[in-house]
Symmetry: C2
Subunit: 334 residues, 2 copies
DNA sequence: TTGTATGCGTTATCAG
DNA sequence: CTGATAACGCATACAA
């Protein structure tokens, strides 16, 4: 059996297709009696609106595009959870694109906006492709692009972020307040805005405490488990080792911790470590990881709400969410 | 400026819209000279096909729906990665729905198929809603629904899975071969097919080794970190404790491990533990977690390929993927 | 309150 | 090889 169309419903109910359409969208402007008959016919036929036809006619896809650098990464997938919640509450569907932080792949998704597959986009990483300059249909307003998490200072009002520099500073300040004086930092990947912001916060905390910067204490990293392990290899070779380490994210801290532990370094007795993000598994480390919590789910939700507000014609207001220092077992006085 | 349509391109190139369409889909049947002119006009206007119009006319959405129980969960998001890879390679877009294992929410997504938003679906959990009986347009074949991971014995050919019972058996067999005789199991959530299959494998391994079943060694769980912690609370109260524990998934094992460790229980000296899944962070446990690896990314990819093959009209062949015992530090002789 | 008729931007079927 | 033209299924301005 073929799918019923609006014509089938209209025929069965003995009305015009216009009335059927009205029953579905503006039920109150149709007579109660007619409405009942139509709705009955809808049920009887098992009718469903055709999304393509509706979208073609109404010039809206009722869909948002979400571009994520790595969909398999738990950090991003938790943001996705928040987005999904708000999107489905608003009756929007969520199209997901995995960019792998590649400009080329990102450009594929720009096209989703160009061909009207989505009404707006949520970017969970610094945009690499040109997301601006998306031509708009005559009667329509600009296509909103909201950036979440990886937000520079010049990204405009469609952004959701925490104050990464301040958060990093708070993390390092925590170590300082415990009495640490030799504090290292394992950085994020190069050319990433978060890396710069967290490094800045780290340095600022040192400055404020009158501690000097030691370049050999700033270890390279790339947010992955491996780079945490690599950081341990560099750490262990240091002549004069830090007594505490601030990691630009939890995953590196966890990679470091497991390697360090296997090598007989005891945390926090021999070394304090603090991460960033408070991912789900940070609490299962042994010892549990002290870290900075980012409200990931809420960040996603806020981004979606921001997008919705713009779609509704409101003026966008950038969202700054609070972070939180979560003290667990991996930090202690030196 | 409004978005260019096929008419704009046709006008600029001085051809009919039919020719433009042909240049885009079957370039070889149009004269080289015309083609060049048209493609030039396409570039000049910045033309993009309108997805809705195309989908309406061609009766295909070029989209697959993926329904996942919890998008924030790392286990599923890694499967998503594999799906995304294959989907984007095939030029399909990926629509994601979060079901929360709720029938009602799942039904929302069934509708995506009904209204033509997607051409097929990939389910990462046991279907709760009615996914069969989806009416099909006259000239079209049935809408394919592929189930990944949570696959019962009666799910038909559109499935991708590992042999969970055999994998569980292998896990327990590993413990037995180390010399363990008192082996417990922390189960998955009730009414889940994986729970049943893994429990079955656990019992089978005991049977084969001539070990008796001890109901008090089968602890309840629900795949979450918390239930791992709860399992520890029950474990510690046991008069006669198991010397080894097989967990129905890694997350519970990790929850257990961190609690146990905080309570002074040393793994594997006091107790061996083995998980299931080999999630990304299983290697960062201290000690690193022995577990059964499921090829998550490959499972997603295989599911997508299966769906594609059905869409291409081929006869579906159920996919059974190999699991692998990954021995790390959390298991040792008693 | 309801019906008629047009168009949204494509693809595909015809002729030419 | 190319051009008219008719759907695809729906929403809405306009009439009644």
């Amino acid at each position: 059996m073929s799918r019923p169309t609006i014509d089938d419903v209209a025929r069965l109910a003995g009305v015009s297709i216009a009335t059927v359409s009205r029953c579905l969208h503006t039920p109150d402007i149709v007579a109660a009696k007619t409405r009942e008959r139509v709705l009955g016919a809808v049920r009887e036929t098992g009718y469903n609106l055709n999304a393509a036809a509706q979208s073609l006619r109404s010039r809206r896809a009722n869909t948002v595009l979400v571009v994520v650098p790595d969909i398999g990464n738990t950090f991003f997938s938790e943001i996705l959870g928040g987005i999904e919640r708000e999107a489905s509450a608003a009756g929007l569907t969520m199209l997901i694109g995995n960019s792998g932080r590649s400009k080329t792949r990102e450009e594929v998704y720009v096209r989703y906006l160009l061909n009207g597959r989505a009404d707006g986009a949520l970017l969970l990483a610094e945009p690499k492709a040109r997301w601006s300059d998306i031509p708009v249909r005559a009667e329509q307003r600009a296509v909103p692009i909201v950036t979440i998490s990886e937000v520079g200072s010049d990204f405009g009002p469609l952004t959701v972020s925490i104050d990464n520099a301040a958060a990093a500073e708070a993390a390092v300040q925590h170590l300082i307040s415990l009495g640490h004086r030799r504090i290292g930092h394992v950085c994020g990947p190069e050319n990433n805005i978060l890396t710069a912001q967290r490094l800045q916060g780290y340095r600022r905390a040192l400055d404020k405490a009158g501690l000097r910067h030691r370049p050999e204490f700033e270890l390279p990293g790339s947010f992955g488990l491996d780079s945490g392990r690599a950081a341990f290899a560099r750490f262990i070779k240091l002549a004069d080792r830090p007594s505490a380490l601030f990691f630009a994210n939890d995953e590196m801290a966890m990679g470091f911790l497991s390697t360090a532990s296997a090598a007989g370094i005891q945390v926090p007795r021999d070394l304090s470590i603090i991460g960033f993000d408070d991912i789900h598994f940070a609490q299962t480390c042994i010892p549990a990881l002290t870290t900075i919590r980012q409200p990931r789910s809420e960040m996603g939700a806020a981004g979606m709400r921001l997008l919705l507000s713009v779609l509704a014609g409101e003026a966008p207001v950038p969202v700054r969410l609070p972070f939180e220092l979560v003290v667990r077992g991996s930090t202690a006085p030196p």
